[in-house]
Symmetry: C2
Subunit: 436 residues, 2 copies
């Protein structure tokens, strides 16, 4: 029996492309259009996808990606998706740098209970410098400090999630006993950044605790993931890179005493598909043409603390930037700098390429299915997070045309495994730390 591939899909309004809203395939207001989110989610569930995933950001200005300017907050959106779905996982992004662990523990546990055990938390530390200004802070914590805070934050949240043993609530109307006092646990956490007593005022769901997702690709980020994450989103442009990341995360997890099969690796997959190469190329060009060079420079600047790239000659070599971008999306900016240098790219080339990268998964339906199978068969991935440029035709085509090929080849199963997100991902129930 072949290993099965699993899919999640990134819900970011009109799609992952910076000008996705301009595509004729989607509503221009998709980022605040609940019908759009419902449609994509229900189609994903009908196709047996393991989860939807909501990205987030805590700072905007007039240079932000258009559909980031106005979008739903992840946890309230996942709340809305809970009652209209029955099997698909609901994963939301929340920053450990700008949130209260007690509140986040409650909100995620609430989604987990409302959905019968289908919640997941994508733990981020917030890359954008400007976030501090929206949270009464003088300074955005630097990269390394953010991960120290994240370690404590997560320890608190997971500790609070175990406040009640699974059989703590008796609720016997006849005897009047509502709960067993011995199965309620205070956390009494005292760390450098947080001091939290507990107990949490909500019980555990059928999966024990929400899943932990993580996407940080820096050394600090992947170390954090290998210690804490049940699932990791990665970025890989080739199978070789995917294999290296896959092996590294599993090795680090094993080094931390974990079962490496309990850290699931999901590279992103940007499908650019069509019935033949001509259609694929035409579709790619159509996306690329949604962007002007001015927009591409602003988009690039977003990774570099909103650095103003219009000051340079766009057709000269990519400029020297020194430390700019070091405290933000570090792994992305390092990669951009490296690639520009290696390939002697101009600023124009870098900027235009960055808005619309040629995906590793670009080809006919059969070719893309082949690639997926190749990655799965060769330890490149456990599954993929779809990040379609446009949450329109590419998404629908992937489900309608590529998924059936994977099913026919025995690599994909549309039905769900069990009732919870942990069941579906092949992860064990999360035992309560206090159970003897």
């Amino acid at each position: 029996m072949s290993k099965k591939v699993q899919f999640g899909v990134m819900l970011h309004g009109p799609g992952g492309h910076m000008n996705a809203w301009r595509s004729p395939d989607v509503a221009s207001d998709a980022s605040v259009n609940l019908e759009h989110y419902k449609n994509i989610t229900l189609k994903s569930e009908a196709a047996g996808f393991s989860f939807v995933f909501v990205a987030d950001g805590l700072f905007i200005n007039d240079k932000s990606i258009p559909h980031f300017l106005s979008r739903f907050e992840p946890l309230t959106l996942l709340g809305a998706l809970a009652p209209i779905t029955s099997h698909i996982g609901l994963v939301g992004t929340v920053s450990t740098s700008y949130s209260e662990p007690f509140t986040i523990a409650r909100q995620l546990a609430s989604i987990d209970m409302m959905s019968g055990g289908r919640a997941g938390w994508n733990v981020v530390t917030s890359p954008l410098e400007g976030s501090a200004k929206n949270f009464s802070k003088d300074k955005h914590p630097e990269h390394s400090l953010r991960y120290d805070i994240a370690d404590e934050h997560l320890a608190v949240v997971q500790g609070l999630w175990d406040s009640w043993e699974d059989d703590a609530f008796i609720r016997d109307k006849a005897s009047g006993q509502y709960f067993d006092k011995d199965k309620m646990h205070e956390l009494n956490y005292e760390g450098e950044f947080f001091k939290i007593a507990g107990p949490l005022n909500i019980e555990r769901s059928p999966q024990g605790q929400p899943i932990i997702f993580q996407a940080g690709a820096s050394p600090k980020g992947s170390a954090f993931a290998s210690r804490n994450a049940d699932a990791v989103f990665t970025n890989a442009s080739t199978l070789e890179k995917a294999q290296a990341t896959y092996a590294d995360l599993r090795q680090q997890a094993a080094d931390n005493g974990r079962n490496p099969d309990e850290i699931k690796v999901f590279p992103t997959l940007q499908p650019i598909v069509g019935k033949d190469h001509e259609e694929v190329r035409a579709r790619y060009d159509a996306i690329k043409n949604l962007v002007t060079i001015e927009e591409a420079l602003a988009y690039l600047g977003r990774y570099f603390d909103h650095h103003d790239f219009t000051q340079y000659d766009v057709d000269a070599p990519f400029p020297e930037l020194g430390d700019i971008g070091k405290n933000s999306f570090r792994s992305t900016t390092d990669e951009i700098k490296r690639r520009a240098k290696e390939n002697n790219l101009t600023l124009r080339q870098v900027a235009m390429e960055e808005t619309t990268r040629e995906s590793a998964f670009m080809g006919t339906y059969d070719e893309v299915a082949d690639q997926i199978i190749e990655w799965i068969d060769n330890d490149g991935a456990d599954g993929f997070v779809l990040t379609p440029h446009i949450l329109g035709d590419f998404f629908h085509d992937f489900i309608d045309k590529v998924i059936p090929i994977l099913v026919a080849r025995g690599y994909y199963d549309i039905s769900y495994e069990g009732q919870t997100l942990r069941d579906e991902l092949g992860l064990p129930f999360k035992e309560n730390r206090y159970v003897k």
Copy 2:
């Protein structure tokens, strides 16, 4: 034409009574049972209720009201109710003492957008001392300071809600213009407690901004309400008290330069109804008998910073408590002390009465309808928040038996006014402060 009465309903799991979960009328796990919340909400919407209202608390211990030990977080629950409803308002409680205004502004605006303009925020300052221990704070801010923080918090949230003028988002695919830069506004708030730049990353809903609800009955609380609230929950045991509060809030609002018709006053209404007096009394006794004296003492203690009342003789006069309870539910504890003294009550009498007060709205269906009409006709209320002891038969009976009487007498209209919560409550669209 007679003035119409409006209703909201308090969703607290099995009901408002401390031992509501024991009633045969409700699921014992109602506080974490999404089906229960859906059923009550859909029935309320079918009956034309103006809003559901979710209460909250940020601290529990083993003496808390049983169904408070494990319950849904309000904003994620309201998210879940948004897609399954189409007209009813969605009001949630969030504390200004323990939340980040940027996050709260986003989450409420998100619910407001997802529901097409039906969100409301019940602004509370958190009465429970223990809350501090769940939020890394050494000390719970005292009553007056909490209201100073609340003033700033609300100013920030409402400022962020105006970040985008209503026509800021153009989203013209042909021209590529997504928004009008001149209609985006930074807040740049700098106060004593908060320093928030903005803009918020979500646009305004069809009602402009979520409604502000407030329930504080202390002088600081009602002053806050008269400055800021669109709707106020009050507690009144008699029409005379209701009239005094009604007149006072409207007068204070007028003194603040507001139109007194734009502050809606909703006393709570605990229906204890039946077909005749015998059934009403039997139903009241059934609720009262859900509680033991030990439970009643613990319940009473909750209002007094979890003071241990078991140390006193329960049949001696109510004890002198000095300052205990002053920094918590102040208006409630003052009232309890006053009533005990005036009526020479024993501790047992106070405790048992407190768990199951005889409601002002106790009687046959016709009698309760008469009372409602009397309060509406005599400037005692604009509407009521139903707080049934049990969210079971009393609730269903009120809708099935009392509402038709009010309709027949011309005092209630089941249809909704307009699409938004502001429309329904007769409040004007909230204009954006930056519009010239």
